[in-house]
């Protein structure tokens, strides 16, 4: 049956049926980003048009998007870095000492609605004069990245056989030394998975920055949103902004595809 004519025609059609709806919004977004406002609002919608860079020029030169891009990178990188620093030892400990209760706590952190900490933070950070500061934003984004790191790494460490550090400890190394010198280098694939995913989650986060950032530390998702809420929507500009925010995440996914798939499906499959 596998090689029957019906299958050889039917299967690619089926795949097409899956792929086209999935990818079409991206194609439309890219096309619209290169259209003039006149082309965008023309009816029927245009598939052929002469491309323009006007929208990107507007986004980067008039709207200060480079600043917001820089903010997003600073917040994401710092939050992921601190999360690895805090999360890797914690994940190792959860994996090796079977600390079920600790891992439950991390799970609960993933369940909680974000606003239930946002409201108290808003009050505390404004009393401390930390509104619109990198500190407040990075702290909040660590809470996005840390559970991802612990979640992915504790199951990764469990898959690394105990003998690895035991042999080093027989030779006189301490367990913490064995963790740094032997386990961590062995766990690079897991660390890449955790880093990529937690960075993407921080990159995409809207709610925390919406409340905690203003002019100075505004990140890209907020900038894109603000761009749209003007009275008359400049669709070309908004689409160019959407392209600007999605491209880095798409490139990261392309480079680390295998790891991203693993990270997203991990835990669910193993149970």
């Amino acid at each position: 049956m596998k090689n029957s004519l019906k299958f050889r025609i039917g299967f690619p059609l089926l795949v097409l049926l899956i792929v086209v709806p999935m990818i079409f919004p991206f194609i439309w977004m890219f096309m619209s980003a290169f259209k003039t406002q006149v082309d965008i609002i023309s009816w029927p919608p245009k598939f052929l048009f002469s491309p323009t860079l006007v929208n990107f020029n507007k986004v980067f030169n008039e709207q200060n998007f480079l600043l917001y891009l820089k903010n997003s990178v600073i917040v994401g990188v710092a939050a992921v870095f601190v999360s690895l620093l805090l999360g890797l030892p914690a994940a190792y400990s959860i994996a090796r000492f079977k600390q079920k209760r600790l891992s439950m706590m991390i799970l609960v952190a993933r369940l909680m609605p974000g606003i239930s900490f946002l409201m108290p933070w808003y009050i505390v950070f404004s009393r401390l004069g930390l509104m619109d500061s990198y500190t407040a934003l990075i702290l909040s984004h660590i809470l996005i990245a840390l559970p991802v790191v612990v979640w992915i790494m504790s199951s990764y460490f469990e898959s690394v056989p105990m003998e690895m550090e035991e042999s080093a400890m027989v030779d006189g190394a301490t367990q913490q030394r064995a963790f740094v010198a032997i386990i961590l280098p062995l766990s690079v694939p897991g660390i890449v998975t955790a880093t990529t995913l937690s960075f993407i989650f921080s990159w995409n986060n809207f709610m925390f920055s919406q409340v905690l950032s203003m002019q100075k530390t505004r990140t890209l998702p907020i900038a894109v949103y603000n761009f749209m809420s003007y009275a008359e929507v400049d669709w070309g500009g908004v689409m160019a902004a959407a392209v600007a925010i999605m491209t880095p995440a798409i490139i990261l996914t392309m480079v680390f595809q295998k790891y991203v798939v693993k990270g997203l499906t991990m835990g669910a499959v193993k149970g």
Partner: protein, 292 residues
């Protein structure tokens, strides 16, 4: 081993300690604070000091039609979207569960919606949905169907938002189920073949029961996030038109950061948290049944 120092002997406390302190300070305390505020009548706008109000905020919220509507919408949105995602996602996984050229490229395409920034996704769909220039109304007109108001009409706004959620998260279920299918052992299939089972029988009696725990886990993960959907709704409609797409998370945001009614906002949050918790506990129980 005897010589081991203080650090090594207490490794299991010292290693998780920094992470634990962080979570305690930035999550546990704030959540307890929210719980505490939910028993007060505190508003930031009145300038009055916080006053204990017992269950006052809860009672007020319960009597608020906007709250009750939001509860209904949150369930409607979650159940509708996640069910569609589970059925579609599993079907896609079953179709793709074979070797073919370009499978990796296809998996990459499946990943795209998952990593796309939700706010930007919402905006792109707003362009699709636009009643006058949108692509979807054009498609409807090509087929001679009546135009729809999509997110601008209160009768169609929720299904339109659910469609965006379905577009973005169906691939997640597909990828999880695909990974689950890849891990299945071959033996039951071989003996089914020996027994002469049809492909439908094999699917119903072997494949489905074996991947069911995986599908259910995917559903829990998805539903927990769907209950809290915020970005897409806020970016696309801000809860409107009127209040017609206000879910609990949007309502809680408005009560805290637009009306600064912290007491009632907190009681909405406590309520939402319990729904999420009960839901995950419930589904975990169902999942256990399948594993036995």
């Amino acid at each position: 081993m005897i010589k081991s120092g203080f650090f090594e002997r207490n490794l299991k406390y010292l290693f998780p300690l920094p992470a634990l302190l962080f979570v305690l300070l930035l999550m546990v305390f704030p959540v307890l604070y929210t719980l505490f505020v939910s028993f007060t009548d505190w508003t930031l706008t009145s300038g009055r000091p916080m006053k204990f109000a017992g269950l006052g905020s809860y009672l007020k919220i319960m009597g608020e039609p906007r709250f009750l509507d939001a509860v209904g919408r949150t369930f409607y949105f979650t159940i509708g979207a996640v069910l569609a995602e589970a059925v579609l996602g599993t079907t896609i996984a079953l179709v793709l569960n074979r070797e073919f050229r370009g499978k990796n490229a296809l998996k990459f395409i499946l990943l795209l919606p998952l990593v796309a920034t939700p706010v930007a996704v919402g905006i792109v769909f707003n362009l699709f949905y636009d009643p006058t220039i949108g692509f979807l109304n054009y498609v409807l007109s090509v087929f001679g169907l009546p135009q729809s108001g999509w997110v601008t009409a209160s009768s169609t706004v929720l299904p339109s938002l659910m469609l965006v959620d379905i577009w973005q998260w169906t691939p997640m279920i597909s990828l999880i189920v695909l990974a689950g299918l890849a891990g299945l052992s071959n033996e039951p299939y071989e003996s089914a073949k020996v027994d002469g089972a049809s492909s439908v029988q094999t699917f119903v009696h072997i494949t489905l029961p074996m991947v069911m725990p995986t599908i259910l886990t995917a559903i829990i993960l998805r539903a927990v996030d769907a209950l809290k959907t915020y970005d897409i709704i806020y970016a696309m409609t801000g809860g409107g038109p009127g209040y017609s797409s206000e879910t609990l998370n949007i309502l809680a945001y408005k009560f805290s950061f637009e009306y600064f009614n912290m007491g009632q906002a907190s009681s909405i949050l406590v309520f939402l948290f319990f729904i999420v918790l009960l839901f995950s506990l419930g589904v975990t129980k169902i999942r256990k049944l399948f594993e036995l």
